[in-house]
């Protein structure tokens, strides 16, 4: 295994952004900076920036704990505290972390929340999670209820419901927590910056339509979504990052290069696949290597849409700031109904000319997982392309079986190979 990963300029920019953010969090108690804990889907980052609240995202804490091999101990702490082995391991990992000093990825303690901003978008567990955290931190909490797109489209009533909650509940609560007044012009300015970064981000995702794809839109995609899904939307540094990333990706397209992976550049793109479901974080690099070893590139993924479906045309709109935030929340992938998810995955398979699609079904996330076996059947039926299925978990290493997953993946790619052979005329066939 190649252990020295090649660093592009965009990677360095992102690294510096994250370092600055975590430094501010680590020093928040001294500087008086306040922070809001919130979730990735439906995050209201620009709104938090209006109040100078630093975002902290518990899902990100959990996945980073898993990547640093600390999640098993944290989950164990939560289970010893009475939490069931059946429930979401993000919750248990985060709870265990908070009960073990609440150390962030830099090793410094994260500040306690000034407020919990419960953006309830596409995941019921979020609601329980913050009920639990509220008892841990004994801090203010405000909930934004985002209706589900059950019929495949948002309605004006849904939008109005969200806007009213923002006006009457969320904004006053953030004013109270931050001690700062709401400024709608500032929000508009931040949304304008968001839209610029979103434009470049979409170009990066779309680049995977090239052959070979210059990016991996799942494993690599996790890094590409990081700034826009977390604390940096509405910032100049996000614009700088996505401009740099786009330039690099466009250069890779010009050079006909494949994606950069931890193992080095993927030289031969043998398989193009779409992936549905979140990654496994405890063995993130191992799983990526399994794809790399097969010459498989993920050309589109649904996980990279949990923080917004920018690739389907959504952009934050500074001329209608609150309505735009409402539309954003409504449109996150986890808030789409199953038929819409089938439509989207099928569209990806066709638009990105994929050989097939794979579902990583994670035990922890019913929001993603319930119904995925039907998604598998439906997408296969609609696209005629091969579907594959394997199971893991988000952050609980007990549920990662490398041998099983590797077997599944090898069988899946053999199946694609067989389909290709069957589709080609046999050697010596006169026709």
């Amino acid at each position: 295994m190649n252990t020295t990963a090649k660093k592009d300029r965009s990677m360095e920019i992102q690294k510096a952004m994250l370092a600055r953010h975590y430094k501010r969090l680590a020093e928040a108690d001294k500087t008086g900076d306040k922070c809001a804990y919130t979730f990735v889907p439906g995050n209201l980052t620009e709104l938090m920036h209006v109040f100078d609240l630093l975002p902290v995202l518990p899902e990100i804490n959990a996945l980073q704990s898993a990547m640093r091999k600390k999640s098993a101990a944290y989950i164990s702490t939560a289970e010893k505290g009475g939490h069931s082995e059946d429930v979401c391991t993000y919750v248990k990992c985060d709870l265990g972390m908070s009960r073990s000093g609440n150390l962030g990825p830099t090793g410094d303690p994260l500040p306690k929340p000034s407020i919990l901003l419960l953006s309830y978008t596409g995941c019921f567990t979020f609601m329980k999670w913050f009920e639990i955290l509220q008892r841990e931190y004994d801090c203010p909490i405000v909930m934004l209820h985002v209706p589900y797109q059950a019929d495949g489209r948002p309605t004006p009533e849904m939008r109005q419901y969200i806007v009213k909650q923002l006006e009457k509940k969320v904004i006053p609560a953030l004013e109270e927590a931050s001690g700062k007044p709401f400024d709608i012009d500032k929000l508009s300015d931040l949304l304008r910056l968001s839209a610029r970064a979103e434009e470049d981000f979409v170009q990066v995702l779309d680049s995977a339509k090239h052959r070979p794809s210059p990016i991996d839109a799942y494993f690599g995609g996790v890094y590409y979504i990081s700034p826009i899904f977390t604390a940096f939307r509405g910032t100049e540094s996000a614009i700088e990052y996505y401009e740099a990333l786009r330039e690099e990706v466009e250069e890779r397209v010009r050079q006909g290069q494949g994606p950069i992976t931890p193992e080095g550049e993927l030289i031969e793109e043998k398989y193009r696949v779409v992936v549905e479901g979140p990654p496994n974080w405890t063995h993130f690099r191992d799983l990526w290597k399994m794809f790399y070893d097969e010459g498989a590139v993920v050309v589109a993924s649904t996980y990279t849409k949990v923080g917004g479906l920018y690739d389907q045309g959504f952009r934050h709109d500074p001329s209608h700031p609150l309505e735009s935030l409402a539309d954003y929340c409504l449109g996150c992938y986890t808030n789409l109904n199953l038929p819409s998810r089938v439509d989207l995955i099928s569209k990806y398979v066709k638009d990105f000319d994929a050989d097939g699609f794979l579902i990583n079904s994670v035990k922890s996330c019913n929001s993603f997982s319930a119904g995925q076996l039907l998604i598998l059947k439906e997408v296969e039926k609609r696209t005629g392309r091969a579907g594959g299925f394997f199971e893991s978990d988000l952050v609980d290493p007990r549920y990662f079986s490398a041998a099983n997953i590797k077997n599944r993946l090898e069988s899946y790619f053999q199946m694609i190979e067989q389909k290709r052979s069957a589709a080609q005329p046999a050697a010596g066939d006169a026709s």
Partner: protein, 392 residues
């Protein structure tokens, strides 16, 4: 044998209720449709749905509560991973094997990610039947009331189209009145149960309540009255059981034999959330003014504490208050495996009951659990410990 003024004995009533309980093929609904041609039957998943709307459309509200231990899962398991709870697989099974084909539509309330996604699966698998997702508000104020009225109005309009006629305000008010009577009778049944639990065992009470999901509400009202009268007249003697509350079973329900096991192990279950959906709204909805607004207001202002509803800072308060009101000596946390709302709630509720000094124990089940010996031993030990040492 004691009989009621309608001539049915307690045994007859219970046999009737239990037959409905195990009627996974919905024979009673089929019979109703035969005798009411052209009218609709609409199913609803747990926990709560505005059954008044179906009734006002001239339809039969039907509770789809999974297959329990009466449905063999042949196809349903192919749709769900091993870590998903059991109720969606038995519901899909019943959908695919034709048991639910008598239903003209289904309502999926917003209680968890699994039932939510099941609504989308229903749209894909049974596209010819309407599948309504009922988004219950999590904003318990004027904003939530306004949103929820809109939700109810939307479903009411489409329900009327399905039935072939508009739901009028008058019809909806009449339906609310019938269901208000049902709510009042269920409260009366609860009072009897609290006062004399030896006459109202949980296995019977739940059978009688659940029957309301398969027969017209007017008949259910009669059934409850008959049951109360017959059970009161049964002359069953009290025994030295522990008074407990059952928590966590509001969606996927335990098999009836599990409830009997609890009774045999020495527990009087004096309150539970098995029937939460039937009793979610406290008191009456009322039929004054705009009936859609009345339903929305009742939900927002008077719904009980539930794992799927977000009410800041109130977790466990109502449970402790219920336990006190019921003179409960302990709490049985009895949740289905893989039920996120119940199991994520549990540690918070445990904290609340511990603070209140109430003993508790916890176990899990699935709707088709068949082995009860371990639960019997656990519940029996719990009941014994209450009797021997508890000061609650």
């Amino acid at each position: 044998m004691m009989t009621t003024n309608t001539g049915r004995s307690l045994e007859d009533i219970l046999e009737f209720a239990e037959t409905l309980y195990h009627d996974a093929a919905l024979s009673s609904v089929r019979d109703w449709k035969k005798t009411h041609p052209g009218r609709i039957a609409v199913g609803s998943m747990p926990v709560w749905a505005p059954r008044e709307l179906i009734h006002a459309a001239g339809g039969l509200p039907v509770s789809v509560m999974g297959g329990g231990d009466d449905v063999e899962i042949i196809k349903g398991d192919a749709y769900f991973q091993s870590y998903i709870c059991h109720i969606p697989r038995s519901t899909i099974e019943m959908g695919l094997n034709g048991s639910l084909d008598v239903l003209d539509g289904m309502i999926f309330p917003s209680i968890c990610d699994v039932i939510r996604n099941l609504s989308g699966m229903w749209k894909l698998l049974f596209p010819e039947k309407p599948a309504w997702y009922l988004d219950m508000p999590q904003s318990f104020d004027e904003i939530g009331r306004s949103f929820f009225r809109g939700e109810l109005l939307r479903i009411g309009k489409e329900m009327g189209e399905l039935a072939g006629h508009e739901i009028t305000a008058e019809a909806l008010k009449e339906s609310i009145a019938v269901f208000d009577r049902n709510r009042a009778l269920l409260e009366r049944l609860q009072e009897h149960r609290l006062n004399r639990p030896w006459m109202f065992p949980i296995s019977e009470v739940w059978s009688v309540i659940k029957a309301g999901g398969f027969i017209p509400i007017e008949e259910h009202n009669d059934l409850i009255e008959e049951y109360i009268a017959a059970a009161e007249a049964s002359g069953r003697p009290p025994i030295d059981n522990a008074r407990v509350i059952l928590v966590g079973s509001f969606c996927e329900r335990p098999p009836l034999n599990l409830l009997r096991t609890l009774e045999r192990s020495g527990c009087y279950v004096v309150d539970d959330d098995l029937s939460l959906g039937f009793r979610l709204i406290r008191g009456s909805v009322g039929a004054e003014g705009d009936p859609y607004q009345a339903l929305a207001d009742a939900f927002v202002e008077r719904s009980r504490e539930a794992a799927f509803l977000y009410r800041e800072g109130e977790k466990g308060k109502e449970l402790v208050a219920r336990a006190r009101a019921a003179h409960a000596e302990g709490v049985l946390f009895c949740a289905p495996s893989f039920c996120d709302p119940a199991l994520l709630d549990q540690p918070m509720l445990v904290e609340a009951v511990e603070k209140a000094g109430l003993p508790w124990t916890a176990f899990k089940y699935a709707e088709n659990t068949g082995q009860f010996q371990v639960i019997r031993e656990q519940a029996g030990t719990f009941a014994d410990s209450i009797k021997l040492w508890s000061v609650a």
